[in-house]
Symmetry: C2
Subunit: 281 residues, 2 copies
């Protein structure tokens, strides 16, 4: 990134949910923690130096404990819930939190309206976090529904940020549950046409999360080509890992330029190197 | 207490409040923690082995930090808020929590309706916790209003428990802010006529809390006689400390039998000894 360049992140809100009476936005919080330097890198989610007294007491009281909420993390959920209940839009609540934590980047929720990823499985429809956390992605999936997407509008500033952006990057995320919910909101699909996407797969496997498993269950081969086909007409380039260099021709056959680079990020240095490659792509 | 005797505690709900979107019932929680063996005896409030990550994160997010909420303690508030919002009465929520924690005793909130102690001060009316915690009882008081008391009904089972009780004890509590809110609900005043009260004062001072300060501000001498007069016609005996034995005649002049006993409780043994004295009074 250019020195002084500004970063705006559009956050998926399809996996937001209400739990224990609290409004929880896992993707927003992960982004905020990462950008504020508060994330627990080893655990891969939540806050560093977290404590778990709440969960322990909740369990003793017979409360639902399938979704782990760290003690410090609870501050985000409690404050957000309070402000949303008072009528503040999610984008304003998120911006205020980011400002309080001194974030240099902007985090904008995909939408201020209610958007919920529902997972169609063999055993019926599941709310996203029930599928993802409670059931640990065990049920075979058949597809996804983005409830509320039709009535949802991009949050204030989101389309403007995409319109003004020198570069638009689709991070190595799960296309089906992390990116598609955003693209389901009217306006985003048109706004990201010049995006560069980093493939979430390396050697047919996802570094983290169930992307490859989902692709198999959806009848797709977990390959760079399948990712390119998914985003066909939406992105101008797909960054694929060196291990998948042989897939470059099949990616380009989808009308998407293939950029081969080391995409595995094990720390800030890898991430910075990949960011440079993406921005130059 | 007789072996096998049952204990029912009627809890003050006048200092309940809504904070950060949560429904907080400090007196109920203190009773539940004490009866479950979870209370922090040294601190004098909240749970033992508590952590404070929530407050720390809340402060970093710019949230209100004048009311301390421990991480484990939050489980009570979050669960209670969720169930109250779903329409459950406070008494049912409290009973379920007590059952989960294995309490041998019953804890019944004074009322399921909204009851709020408002403090009339020189500088205006303050919500109870604003006076008590945020302002640290600094403003001079002129009196109290128990908002909602007129429309409130005793919670299910409370009057029955008092009617069936072999002994009714008014614990050494602040008469104005801990006992009067309960007595302001129709039915309680008649139901406690045979109660024995333990004076909250020893040598004109409260062991804990602002009872003596309040009495002075209300123009009352902080004495056993003033406590007896406050409860005149409501209790049959007042247990006063040995240090106040000389006040026995003035207590009895109020038509209340004076029982002189060591009333300072520094641990479970003192408490048990005092309980025996009260039950035999």
């Amino acid at each position: 990134m250019r020195a002084g360049a500004e970063l705006t992140v559009i956050a998926n809100t399809g996996d937001d949910f209400e739990h224990l009476g609290l409004s929880i936005s896992p993707d927003i919080d992960s982004l905020v923690y990462a950008l504020a330097g508060l994330a627990d890198r080893e655990r891969g989610w939540g806050r560093a130096n977290e404590t778990w007294s709440f969960m322990s007491a909740l369990g003793a009281l017979g409360g639902e404990t399938w979704f782990n909420l760290g003690d410090g993390d609870l501050a985000m959920h409690v404050l957000r819930s309070e402000h949303l209940a008072a009528g503040a839009p999610l984008s304003a609540v998120t911006a205020a939190m980011a400002r309080q934590l001194g974030l240099g980047a902007r985090v904008i929720p995909a939408t201020d309206q209610r958007l919920r990823t529902l997972v169609e499985t063999e055993t019926g429809r599941l709310a996203f976090q029930h599928y993802f956390v409670r059931e640990r992605t065990a049920p075979r999936i058949a597809g996804f529904t983005f409830e509320g997407a039709e009535a949802a509008l991009p949050a204030p500033g989101a389309l403007e940020a995409l319109g003004d952006a020198e570069r638009i990057v689709i991070c190595p995320s799960n296309p089906y549950i992390s990116i598609d919910p955003i693209l389901a909101v009217a306006g985003y699909r048109e706004a990201v046409q010049s995006a560069v996407c980093v493939s979430p797969l390396i050697g047919g496997r996802a570094v983290k999360g169930p992307t490859a498993k989902m692709m198999s269950e959806l009848g797709l081969e977990p390959s760079s080509q399948a990712v390119a086909r998914h985003y066909r007409g939406l992105i101008r380039a797909l960054v694929i890992d060196e291990a998948d260099a042989h897939e470059a021709p099949s990616v380009e056959a989808e009308g998407v330029r293939a950029v081969v680079a080391p995409t595995l990020m094990t720390g800030p240095k890898d991430a910075e190197r990949l960011a440079h490659i993406v921005l130059e792509a």
